[in-house]
């Protein structure tokens, strides 16, 4: 038997807990759907129309999310941002240097390393899921 709430805050607390529970189930459903989508999409071969559509759908959704984005205006520290920029620049530079050199077996690029990782369906699925996950992380803000 439930007693009457002492104040409104108790009802709010219960509602918040229920909403959180629903949100958790919602997130789990979205993650499961994304994983199923990634598994199906990663089963199609490159250079085919189904694969092109399967990749285009997240790209279009990401573009829509970009249009609707209202980035967080909360001020965060800039300290250390240069390290991230330097790491990205180093990666990009090494990728371009490797791309210009040949043979590819002696000068691997990220693409050739990814091709090796994607030579099986589970590997291709992991890469596709990671790509969708990074997209979600980039465009959720």
């Amino acid at each position: 038997m439930f007693r009457t709430p002492v104040c409104d805050c108790e009802t709010v607390a219960v509602d918040t807990t229920r909403r959180r529970g629903r949100a958790t189930w919602g997130v789990a459903a979205v993650v499961a759907a994304a994983l199923v989508y990634a598994w199906i999409a990663s089963g199609w071969r490159p250079f085919t129309h189904p694969e092109a559509i399967a990749v285009a759908v997240p790209i279009v959704l990401g573009g829509i999310a970009m249009l609707r984005a209202r980035p967080d205006a909360t001020d965060t520290t800039r300290r250390g941002t240069w390290v991230w920029a330097a790491l990205f620049a180093a990666l990009l530079t090494w990728e371009l240097v490797s791309y210009r050199l040949s043979p590819r077996v002696d000068h691997p690029t990220l693409s050739s390393i990814a091709d090796w990782a994607m030579s099986t369906h589970p590997g291709r699925f992991a890469m596709f899921a990671a790509w969708i996950g990074i997209g979600y992380w980039l465009f959720r803000r």
């Binding site: 490159p46 250079f47 399967a54 693409s111 994607m118």
Partner: protein, 72 residues
Amino acid sequence: MSSSTAGYAVYALIAAVAIVWAAITYLLRPRFATVDDAVTRLVRHRVARWIVWALWAFVGWHLFVRGSGAFK
């Protein structure tokens, strides 16, 4: 050391530094910008936001649609 070993070593070094720096910034936040802080700051600018989207889209298209070695 062969060329390919050096090539892989440079990628591994960059990845290792990124992981260590990510751990340091996470443990010392908010004193240093985490990768999430850096990206949040970056995508505040409209042009940068679309550059990030284009880069992500290019990576996906290049790897999964125009991929050269998958399923050989």
